[in-house]
């Protein structure tokens, strides 16, 4: 049994709106030997969002009274709070300076994923409008360039309930299913394995973070040697339905 390899795809040039993401990543992919069958390309949300022009000028944002009140109480930037509220389908928690929302995509995260790191002084970066579709676009574009269609995962860094620290999770997926489903399979003792569905897309996202340095220019990684569950899945499949969720 061979192992899994996580190769950083460093890019030195800054993204600008309208950049073609596949063009941008192509030199790093080529330096890693091009794409092989089964390769998984993992890209940060930040890179995707910037290429898609999901960058907002803060000076053009007028905060609502709610955003102003919260920002004043907790020493936040009211315009960033406003963008987080606009990106939300619902507010999950808004206490002690923490704003946790469910985004329009369905993801639960801090500030609707609105991010100010690695961007201009007057700018904030929003999540892609449809990260699954962004992943599909990148999959096809890389496939045209390298002759092999990779699995593509778009990742962001989210906090969790109950556990300290953040980890990378999948917010976009193309070319595979996000779960490996062991239900019905037989264990080592001959007993059926129950209710074990592994969110492998999130595990790949987490693994890729290990080679992505937040402060440096590594917006992507290549994961080799892992056979993703075949089929057409989406990262939004990872979102638990509201009526099944015990922690909303």
């Amino acid at each position: 049994m061979t192992g899994v390899e996580i190769v950083p795809l460093p890019c030195t040039r800054e993204f600008v709106a309208g950049d073609d993401l596949a063009d941008y990543l192509a030199p790093a992919v080529a330096a890693a030997g091009g794409l092989r069958s089964g390769d998984i390309v993992v890209v940060t949300q930040k890179a995707v969002s910037k290429c898609e022009g999901r960058v907002v000028r803060l000076s053009a944002v007028t905060p609502s009274p709610l955003a102003q009140t919260f920002a004043r109480a907790w020493d936040k930037d009211a315009r960033v709070v406003e963008l987080a509220l606009r990106g939300a389908r619902r507010v999950v928690r808004m206490v002690r300076g923490v704003l946790i929302t469910q985004t329009h995509h369905g993801f639960i995260c801090a500030n609707s994923g609105v991010d100010r790191s690695n961007t201009g002084e007057d700018e904030a970066v929003l999540l892609p409008e449809d990260p699954d579709s962004s992943a599909q676009g990148l999959r096809l574009a890389l496939g045209r360039r390298f002759g092999v269609l990779p699995v593509v995962i778009i990742t962001d860094t989210f906090g969790r309930a109950w556990r300290r620290g953040q980890t990378n999770v999948a917010i976009g997926l193309a070319g595979a299913r996000p779960f490996r489903d062991y239900r019905g399979s037989i264990d080592h003792s001959g007993r059926e394995l129950h209710a074990t569905v592994i969110a492998v897309a999130d595990e790949i996202a987490a693994a890729s973070e290990l080679v992505m340095n937040k402060a440096d220019g590594v917006p992507a990684a290549l994961v080799r040697g892992y056979a993703m569950p075949p089929g057409e899945g989406k990262a939004t499949d990872l979102v638990r339905a509201t009526n099944e969720d015990l922690f909303l």
Copy 2:
């Protein structure tokens, strides 16, 4: 920049109580070329628990009335419910057949981590009593055998709030800190990164799951090429304090 490699450590023999875990893993580690400086050995909870004799005969368990009522209502094994309740410091949710507890260690998971897969018909496996201490023991024992002290992570497969599917997380750690802390560091744009603390021990645990097949005999993995944050940390550091947790 080089990548990260995740090498499976397959073991064909079944664990039995009293087995020395380092002896058990040694042939697979040797086959992977032995230990190098910075290597991370990741082991499943199941392997650790079995070696530590954390296996309970179900026929010897007398369920409490609460366990009986819940088991009857939701078609569960009352003895397993009883073991889950005994392993709990508090019950977080006990609804619709789902029992989520905070274990005595502080971890939030289903059934206090009590597990019946890959074990005998009349048996259930409990979490190690002190997984951080188990990790430290394995670190020292592997160090004696191979002349290099590895980082050791003990992992289990937990569900999450808000997201479907399970992922591997760290429940034991020795030889490193579980977090990479970017607070105060400077981003690409020269702006300070705020509040970004990455739970790298959980990301390593998740990555290692990719080479551990639930149905087959791969209880461990070697992670190479990732420099864990130096220092003495514990997996229990990953547990959010109850008064800081918004989702208990």
